[in-house]
Symmetry: C2
Subunit: 87 residues, 2 copies
């Protein structure tokens, strides 16, 4: 599965969320990660993240698709990640 | 086309970018918009945004798919947008 993950998390938990996500996904932009994950890993990070965030304050959205070719990616401005050709 | 747009823009241009995007897409989270757009509209906002942002500092990523059913959307924590069932 290809995952695009965006987060809107209170500043005191951002570092912890980022450190956690870096183990599984590639950082692409402030508050955005992307990457290929198996379904089981996705379930695992859902649980992991729900332990880090405050679920009445923070918000994380996971967009998933079976095939990364179904999503086109276009950048306006600078490419902030080091992985320029991930899709 | 279904669009997920994420931005990482310097603070002095954020309001302008948000106001511009609100005309075309639904705000879903801090620095994330979503919505259905025609291809011509997508080309139009690419031009519009490139006039607002500094292209050597700011970054906007547009993810597009032909069919929104190809993307699954899962939230951890709170739903920040008013449009809870957009995908």
């Amino acid at each position: 599965m290809y995952v695009i993950l965006v987060y809107d998390v209170s500043v005191e938990r951002i570092d912890k969320v980022r450190q956690y996500l870096k183990q599984y996904l590639n950082w692409v932009q402030n508050s955005v990660f992307e990457g290929e994950m198996r379904r089981g890993e996705i379930e695992k990070i859902k649980i992991g993240l729900s332990k880090i965030i405050k679920d009445d304050e923070d918000s994380i959205i996971l967009y998933t698709t079976h095939n990364r070719k179904w999503i086109t990616r276009k950048i306006i401005g600078v490419e902030k990640s080091e992985i320029a050709t991930i899709i």
